[in-house]
Point group: C3
Chain length 261, copies 3
């Protein structure tokens, strides 16, 4: 039994995701297909890369992750497979797959070149269904990556970075989740080293300053109060207990975010 995951910006009104699943099930029977999310902001490679990065550690060894946020589809951008020791990624060569691959350790990148593993009716607008889904299915079935493409080194690289200088951490809003939790591009390793639970932290966003406690969970402040925590994503979050931090701070994905040390 193998697992294939799907992450796209296709939404769920259309039949696009279902077509990818149909293609996969036509190639490999003994597979579990799991949706990571299809609600990535259209064309937002950053948000797609973030969601993929956070989800990947929870999947079993050998999972094949297909991710499609692909503004360059139909042009000369390449399709790639990224092979790591624990899982495999399939998608466009635009940075989307790289942060998740790095989290898995050593990785190798292959350009998809062999048309034998694509749909014969390949279109110019929908490589998710015509290229990435069948390639993932063949990998899940046991086909060797070296059969499907050729090793490349000049793939499009991508990282979530934060900068520490002058007693400040400068980062960005990576994601706003359903509850209005505002995810900041600072990971838990760094956070836990720098801050203690209960400590009050000062931060700046959209020209306004705030102070909030760093806590283990939402329930440790009163309803509607602001806090910082390490959320389920493994990144620092600004949250409001039973409320929306995104509304309270009036921020969206991409906003610059400064923490004072």
């Amino acid at each position: 039994m193998s697992v294939v995951t799907l992450l796209t910006d296709f939404g769920d009104e259309d039949a696009y995701v279902a077509e990818m699943k149909g293609v996969i099930l036509g190639i490999v029977e003994d597979v579990r297909i799991v949706d990571i999310s299809h609600k990535v902001t259209p064309y937002s490679i950053d948000e797609g890369a973030f969601l993929l990065l956070t989800a990947v550690p929870y999947f079993p060894k050998g999972t094949v992750h297909v991710a499609v946020v692909d503004p360059g589809v139909g042009t000369s951008r390449r399709g790639i497979v990224v092979e790591t020791e624990v899982c495999t990624f399939v998608g466009p060569d635009n940075g989307l797959l790289i942060p998740a691959a790095k989290r898995c350790g050593v990785f190798r990148v292959f350009e998809i070149t062999s048309t034998g593993y694509m749909l014969p009716s390949k279109t110019h607008t929908f490589h998710g269904r015509d290229v990435f889904a069948p390639v993932a299915a063949y990998i899940a079935k046991g086909v060797d990556v070296e059969e499907i493409g050729r090793r490349i080194e000049d793939y499009v690289d991508f990282d979530f970075n934060f900068v520490v200088k002058n007693e400040k951490i400068i980062s960005k809003v990576l994601h706003v989740d359903r509850f209005g939790n505002v995810v900041i591009g600072v990971n838990d390793d760094f956070v836990v080293k720098r801050f203690r639970y209960g400590e009050k932290i000062r931060f700046l966003v959209k020209g306004r300053e705030y102070v909030a406690p760093f806590l283990k969970s939402y329930g440790f402040v009163e309803k509607n109060e602001l806090l910082l925590t390490v959320g389920g994503t493994g990144f620092l979050e600004v949250s409001v207990n039973q409320g929306s931090a995104a509304e309270k701070l009036d921020v969206e994905v991409g906003e610059v975010f400064t923490l004072f040390l």
Copy 2:
């Protein structure tokens, strides 16, 4: 083969639900995972309990139902497993699981105590992934509930009640579905005993009175006309043929609803 269902208020923009599925598939291979709904109004234990209650009878014997609407996560609220003769429930001890468990007959409640069935990296904010998903997967795999926790009697109890007095039935709006059908907390057994098909029923909501016929289905009134029926949920519904009763009555979940006998 076993079935695990998931009901949460996590929405579908984030990777949270996928992470739960990844965890489950890493523990038990031969499983079908079914989403009941992830669109429960955030923190609404009532609505979550209602949706779980209505869905459960349609799943095969042995299904494990994970439900997470959990405003108290990370505080001292307990995690529980509820075992019935036909299925098992896993989730927070806040009432969410209890109406569905009662519908299944005799049940026993266990507090989840053994950390051996949780993720080693258990966070303080996401017990859905770190506690409830793995516990459900181990149960689906055949681990005995008594291995996972200890029997308790002081769980948080919860019921959907309606009151009959002075020729009135006083109840509440439990749910508004996609079609604008307004579900009232009066179950079909009671409705079928009290009302005949074709009978006109008078009711009061938000200070306004209405009269509508009790019918077998929507199609028996003209387009845009009001009716009462026993919907797919097994509860009384106020509906509008090919229209929205919620808009027509201007009501939301929680509104008091009075029927005249």
Copy 3:
């Protein structure tokens, strides 16, 4: 292993779709259930038929497709099974299944008559769960269609048509997808015969005229520019590179659309 797909206008807030899945899994174990879409505009048989038509070719031989867009549920409209050489359809007799069935070649229509393949607790309002889901599960399990119903010829027929006259193609907007791509009811066979890539095409919608190039993919025009292409659906689309054509043209499903030859 068999595949069952589900297409409905039930949305994803409620437990309705999950109940259908529970029923199916209670009847047939070795099945993969795939959601095509549950976001069909409520009661829009046209849009449901279009989405089913586009998705079906991508599923493996033997797939059973359940589709429920069913304003007449509970009245005398019949339930049908449509058998083709590559797959089977189950749903209401209101035209919904027919365009997809025609795409699969020769087909035979059966009225569902045998109550032995329905839920014993069949309601008047939810045949998706009580009739179509169990019938589909029994077919997936190998039950012969002739056991379930009787052959009929007077089913409700339905087609997506376009008209060519006086150097014009007159058609309709069938669907607007998540990206704002506007799908026109003119199929790729016709388009590829009549237009060359790079050719500029003049069209009229809502009283306004536009000219846009017919291209292989979105990326061949500048950001925010209009183009025509054959999208992933196999139909002609009006698109805007990294933007919404539906907003630019201010159109919705059902709008008349004229192309000049």
